[in-house]
Symmetry: C2
Subunit: 234 residues, 2 copies
Amino acid sequence: MDDETAPQKGTVTQRAIERIKAMIGEGRLEPGQRLPTERDLAAQLGISRSSMREAIRALTVLGVLEARHGSGIYVTQLEAGDLLETFGVVADLSRGPRLVELLEIRRILESTATALAAARITPDQLAEVEKHLAAMNATDDPEEILAHDLAFHRVIAAAAGNETMAAILEGLSSRTFRARVWRGYQEEGAFTRTRREHAAIHRALAAHDPEAARAAAAAHVGEVEEWLRAQLGP
Amino acid sequence: MDDETAPQKGTVTQRAIERIKAMIGEGRLEPGQRLPTERDLAAQLGISRSSMREAIRALTVLGVLEARHGSGIYVTQLEAGDLLETFGVVADLSRGPRLVELLEIRRILESTATALAAARITPDQLAEVEKHLAAMNATDDPEEILAHDLAFHRVIAAAAGNETMAAILEGLSSRTFRARVWRGYQEEGAFTRTRREHAAIHRALAAHDPEAARAAAAAHVGEVEEWLRAQLGP
DNA sequence: GACGCATAGTGGTCCGACCACCCTGCTGGT
DNA sequence: ACCAGCAGGGTGGTCGGACCACTATGCGTC
């Protein structure tokens, strides 16, 4: 075995990325822990600081590491939000048929999350849902409506009790993604329908009726899905 | 307005990443297209080649760009597989309660995908499912069983017709993730139960019975989920 | 004891050089 | 005329060093 001198697979930067990921996976680096300096890390792996910086940058955008200027490099808490932020990138760069696929996934997850929320939601959380519902119906500013719409679903996802699912749904509802689809959808006077659907979701949540919540959420997303499918069609 | 000279938000590298992402989002860079050279790009944005390289590396690990040594930098096809490869990183670095959450998501998506597959699967695809099913039952080598198990579900996900969902499920079944959970699960003699569940899924697919397929797949993943939940509990 | 400043250490940026690889076009032969 | 082989230029990959911007620590001062 000569793994001592020449592994030599791929670029050095890629190898550095794998090495650091492995350290975290093996538990040698705990969440929140501070890493050695860039210079030390580069020396340890026998590569230049430039290459090490590229590796660190890559792991930073993946949400695994966090660099604090003047302080050091730290492992993130490795929570769902940290790691799944990149999911929003997928939504932002997707177009055409893939947008429909993403909405289909959102429909599946959102309906399940809403059903779970119906069973588990607390009075406080329900009050917050109602707050955003009221705010959404009290204004005509599309920006404000969109913001409260996002918050409405975010609270519900949080109430479902699965942080990972909430993070994914957050990515699937990222500002640019929603804005792109919402614009055209709302231009067709879908406001009243949207309000009716939101009211139905809220009713199911308040009644703690999971099946009704699932149906209402699925219909809510499904409406947009159908509209988008028609847009892309002939 | 002085956005001409000093946007100055975040690091220059971060800004470069956003700029390139924006170019793709606005359609100024098409999938498969070749970018200017690192040196030219750096000059265009007024930054050093080092910083530009970090930005490119970051977008490379995100699956947005692809660098070919000696040839140039290209935009990927931006397909689900390219962009969601990073989803596997999440699965690899997750532990404890988050593993259960990931399995819960996999149960939801896998059951839906299997139901869709039951309605849409072609004879050819069904034959491939049977091939892996037979191969899985014909050996005792855990490695081989795992490989055919993965392929079994991969074919089903593909038959569901949603490439994005298939890519996510692929990430949720990545080698290291499955290996870590499967090892302990199978050590408890779950082989026969797994085989029975796989047979049930195949039966539902062959009968083109979506509801039966959904139930069988949900039970299949749910078994592992329950086992893992028990492992983590007291 | 609390405040403020000097200082060492860290990540952020830039530069210039060289290497490894790919592609093209030319050259030489058949 | 055609094709194989080679040589060159262009590209990403790596390296080393220098300097800047920011943070945190500790010491001195009040």
